[in-house]
Each structure stands twice: as C-alpha cells, then as structure tokens.
C-alpha cells in the first residue's frame, strides 16, 4: 500500500538534520573520487584514449569475455537458483554458503587458486586444456565467472522466491510436468529478476581486476590496462582509460537499475 509517512516536524528536528548530515558524508566519500577523476581528465586526453586501438581492443575483449562468462554461467546458475528457491534438501545451508564464498575471497588469492586448477602446471591444465588457460580469453572468462557468479545466482534465487509457489502448484494440478511449470510459469515470472542478475554479473565481470591480472596480464582487459598504464606511464595516462572504463560500467549499471526498477520501488514501501 502506498502510504506517505509525513511525520509533522519529525524530519525538521535536530535528529533528522543529524541523519541527513551523516548520510551526506557517506555520499561524499563515494562521489568525491568520481568527480575528482572526471575533473582530472582533459577532453583531449580522453579523445586520444578513445582513439587508441589498444584501448578499444581491450574494452571489446573485456565486454566479450564477461558476456561469455555470464551466458555460460546462466545456463547452470539459473536452474541452481530455482532449485535453491524451491526445494529443501540436506546441506542446503552449506550450498548457499559456498555460492557466496567468491564474494569474500580476496581476488588476488582467487586468481592464485584458479591458477592451481587451470594453470600451466596443474594436472587439468597440462593434460586436458593443452597447456592451461593462462594468458587466454577463456582463462579471463573463467576468472570473471568465479568472482561474479554469486551475483547471478542470488538475484535469480530471490526472483524465483518472489514467484508465488501456489501458481506452480496450481499448474501442476492442471497437468503440467515440473519442467513445463518451470518454463511456462516460474521462468517467465522471474525473468526480470534473472535478467537483472545477468546484467549485474556482466558488470562485475567487466570490472574484475585482481583475479584477471594473475590469470592473464595479456591479452589485457581494461581494468588491467588501467593498472599497467599507471605503473608504466604514471597517473595522467591511467586517468583517461579509467574514465572510459567507469563510463562503460556506469552505463551498464543504469540499465540494470531500470530493469530492476519496479522491484526496488516496491521494496521501498515494505
């Protein structure tokens, strides 16, 4: 229900003012660096970076590798999300915990961990992958998938949980098999949430640096290039690439917000 909660004079007191002041400090922490970097770059630097083939190639690589990681992960991650939203089984808490692990594991350590599986020296890398995935686009995609898959699975799980189970139960009594119920009822109704989970995973994949820099310094993704230019050429050369990269990510993020807008607005009144 939409209800305005105008509390007469409640927001005008010293308490409301204090809340607003403290809140502004947080916003400042986030906004100041972004403003700073935009002010630090010049139009000429920016246009030179945008015309630099090395930069555009790396942006293309980053977008495509993250997209590949997202698409392949969705095929397995969305069904898993449905399973976690609907079934109760032994060890479910453990599975939920495992899914969230990549969020807390430091990304540089995650990169090292991935090397032990898909690196040149690992059994899998040596015998199955023909020398490992180090320095390949596939390796970059795996690193991106590892650090960003929790975002997809969790968003999809919440989307499926928001689909009333009664709709699925009613469909079953109308003669639909579990697979048909999933395809005709659950997935269409959860679609918006699943899609925004995919966009979020894509954005996280694009922005990944720590794990990717360990798996593949070359081919160079844009976050790695920001680091490399800063190390090799200094701040000024990193800033323009960083601004371009931030622009790409913020654009994706706005798309994501619009996608999940309806849900967020609902949440605000709960």
């Amino acid at each position: 229900m939409t209800r305005q909660s105008l509390q007469p004079s409640g927001s005008g007191t010293w308490f409301g003012l204090l809340l607003a002041l403290l809140g502004s400090a947080v916003l400042l922490l986030i906004v100041a660096p972004l403003l700073g970097i935009v002010l630090a770059t010049s139009v000429s630097d920016l246009s030179r970076a945008a015309a630099d083939r090395e930069v555009t190639e790396s942006i293309k690589l980053t977008l495509l590798a993250a997209l590949a990681a997202t698409t392949v992960s969705a095929v397995a991650g969305v069904p898993l999300a449905y399973l976690l939203a609907r079934k109760r089984f032994w060890g479910k808490g453990l599975v939920l915990g495992i899914i969230d692990l990549p969020i807390v594991i430091p990304h540089s350590a995650a990169g090292i961990a991935l090397l032990t599986v898909i690196g040149r020296q690992s059994p899998l890398g040596k015998h199955v992958l023909g020398g490992g995935l180090v320095g390949t686009t596939a390796g970059i995609a795996v690193a991106m998938a590892f650090v960003s898959i929790p975002f997809l699975v969790n968003a999809a799980r919440l989307a499926f949980m928001a689909v009333p189970e009664r709709l699925e139960r009613a469909a079953r009594t109308l003669g639909a098999s579990p697979a048909r119920v999933f395809l005709t009822v659950s997935l269409p109704l959860a679609w918006r949430g699943v899609l925004s989970g995919m966009v979020l995973m894509w954005a996280r994949g694009i922005s990944e640096f720590g794990a990717v820099v360990i798996i593949a310094y070359h081919p160079m993704t844009t976050p790695v290039m920001v680091f490399q230019r800063f190390n090799d050429h200094g701040l000024r050369y990193a800033v323009s690439v960083a601004v371009l990269l931030i622009a790409v990510c913020v654009t994706l993020f706005v798309v994501l917000r619009l996608l999940s807008g309806a849900r967020d607005r609902r949440g605000d009144h709960a």
Partner: protein
C-alpha cells in the same frame, strides 16, 4: 470414487491424524473446520502436492498416494485464485488443454464454452490483474474445469470475496457441480457456506475428523459438544439423571419429549426460548424464573444470557422485545420453551 484411508501428516508443530473419508462420484463434499486446522493440507494431499506421513489415497480402488499431481486429474482452485499474471484470461483457461498445433482450435473452442458457462466471455482477452475478485475466481474455476477433472478441489474459494459476490458464486458452484456432474471437495471455515453447499459435510476440529454427515443431520445430531459448539449451537447441555421424559440438569428439571436412553446431550435453540415479564399459561412444558446475567447484540437480534439456579441459557430476542421487557442484568424474568423444542443427541 476417492478414498482417503487413515491419512496422517505432521508438518512442524502441526499434526493431522487418522482422517478417513470417501467421496462419491458427482458428490459435493465440504470439509468444514476453523482456520489452521489442516484443511488445506488435506486438500493438497488429495491433489498430490504433499505426501502424507501415514495412510493411503485410493482412486477407484487404485493406490495413488505416490502419483504426482499432474497425473491425477484433480484440479485445485486456491482462495487467492492463483491465476497466471503473465497470461490473458483465455490462455489461463487453456493452460491445462492439449498444446499440439492440431489441438489448438479445439482448445480455443473449449475455452469459449467454459467462459460461456461462467459468464466471463467478455473478459477473455484481458489480464488477470484487471479483473475483480469475483471475476478472477470465475476464471480460476473455468481454468480448473477445462481439464475435465474427476474431482474439483476448492480451497476456501469464496473467502476473499465480498458478501454479494460470495452469494452469487456460491450458487454457481452448486450449479456447476450439478450440470457437469463433477465431484467437488470444498474446504471452508464458514458453517453457513458448508450447510448451503454440501451434499455431505465433514467436520475437522483439533486436527481430527469428528463427523461426516448431511447438513441437516449435523444440526439434528452433532456427534459431540465440540461439533455443536463449532456450528454455533448455544445451549447444548450434557444430560445428567433422566426420569421418563424429564432430565435433571444443574438442579433444574427439563421436559424433553424426544428423550431416549441413548441421549447424552440436549440442545435448546436460543431462538425458541421465549422471555416474558410474567409467567403465562400455554402448552409449553418448560417455564423457569430466571435472572438476566448479561446481553450482547448479535446482528439484528440480541442474545440474552439468563440463569435459573446453576443452569445458564442464552435466548435470542428482537430489539422490540428487548425494549419492551426492559432487559438489564439482574432483572427477574421468565423463560419458556416447549418440550418438543428440545433436541436430543
């Protein structure tokens, strides 16, 4: 047709024990009980959505306890309709129909027929969220009937509707049951609804099935005081010592014309007790001097509780009588009722 044999279920703190019931082909069976007693769980057991922890479900003698819901041919209608919000009314109704390309014209025809039957033809192209509660419930019924269920399962189908719509749909349910000869298992907490609809009514109280009987029979012969109480029967009294058509209850003698040796309880309907300022001569065999204890409005009538010695009775009277008798707590009045007005069970 459908046999539930000693069904038991335990879900968390909630328990349902030893429910056995048979539903005949074409019958309208109502399961009546207060909320939270497990009526809906029982319905979902019949649908195959929950597996019982004990007992068996038989269809025409075949054990279907483990059969998945989509193979049972029972469709379920929920209180909140559970319409698919991303489909039009037509696609909702056709959801359970064959989907092969060749079957589509037939499915479309069937949806149109059912829309006709339930008076929702003008709504076929609309989305569920644009419909009123009553319209949504009609769509849910049409969708459930489309699959030609052997048994239609209704979970509080009228509870979310306003009074007028409820009365109209109540009549539709009965008509559908009769016209299509579809057996119905209807779950409700409303005794009035159960009485109006059921060929037979099962009463579920304290997680067990107390009585199964035709509606009239329930009022004539409730199996025990809990059932009587749940049906809203006031003045149900346990019978103590009995002397030839007279029973002694709480120190008062009550003449009961239909008294038998098996009688354990008597029921004096509150509306058959006459209150008066003075005693009067009449054919009524029971007349007591009483004291008014309290009174409460009950819809358009008033419930007056009176005490004669240790015997406490409730009488239902009109506002007019109330004013005329100047009822107030402590007032002395007379309560009169016929010996034939006392029901025994």
């Amino acid at each position: 047709m459908l046999d539930l044999q000693s069904i038991g279920v335990r879900l968390g703190s909630f328990e349902l024990a030893d429910v056995s019931v048979t539903i005949e082909a074409g019958e309208y069976f109502v399961l009546l009980g207060p909320s939270g007693v497990g009526k809906s769980v029982l319905l979902e057991i019949v649908a195959g959505l929950i597996r019982p922890s004990a007992g068996r479900v038989l269809l025409d003698g075949r054990d279907i306890t483990g059969l998945p819901p989509e193979q049972r041919g029972f469709s379920l209608v929920y209180q909140d309709y559970a319409l698919f919000p991303h489909m039009t009314v037509r696609r909702n109704i056709a959801y359970g129909l064959p989907r092969a390309r060749s079957a589509r014209p037939a499915a479309k025809r069937r949806a149109a027929e059912l829309a006709e039957l339930l008076h929702i033809t003008p709504l076929l192209a609309r989305r569920p969220e644009t419909l009123s509660g009553g319209q949504q419930q009609r769509v849910a019924l049409a969708r459930a009937l489309a699959v030609q269920p052997r048994l239609l399962l209704l979970d509080e189908p009228l509870a979310a509707l306003d009074t007028n719509t409820r009365f109209r749909l109540r009549k539709e349910l009965k008509r559908i049951n009769r016209e299509l000869n579809t057996a119905v298992l209807h779950v409700t907490h409303d005794p009035e609804e159960a009485m109006a609809l059921g060929d037979r009514v099962g009463i579920l109280l304290d997680c067990r099935l107390h009585q199964v009987a035709a509606p009239q029979e329930l009022f004539r012969r409730p199996s025990d005081p809990q059932v009587a109480d749940f049906l809203g029967m006031r003045n149900v009294l346990p019978v103590g010592r009995v002397d030839d058509k007279i029973c002694h209850i709480c120190g008062v003698d009550i003449h009961v014309s239909s008294l038998t040796a098996e009688t354990t309880h008597i029921w004096i309907k509150p509306e058959e007790i006459i209150l008066s300022q003075e005693p009067f001569a009449s054919s009524a065999r029971n007349q007591f001097k009483c004291t008014v204890v309290e009174w409460d409005p009950r819809g358009s009538l008033l419930a007056v509780r009176v005490a004669a010695g240790d015997l406490s009775l409730v009488a239902l009277i009109t506002h007019a009588s109330f004013d005329q008798l100047a009822i107030e707590p402590g007032r002395q009045i007379y309560a009169t009722f016929k010996s034939s007005a006392v029901h025994c069970f």
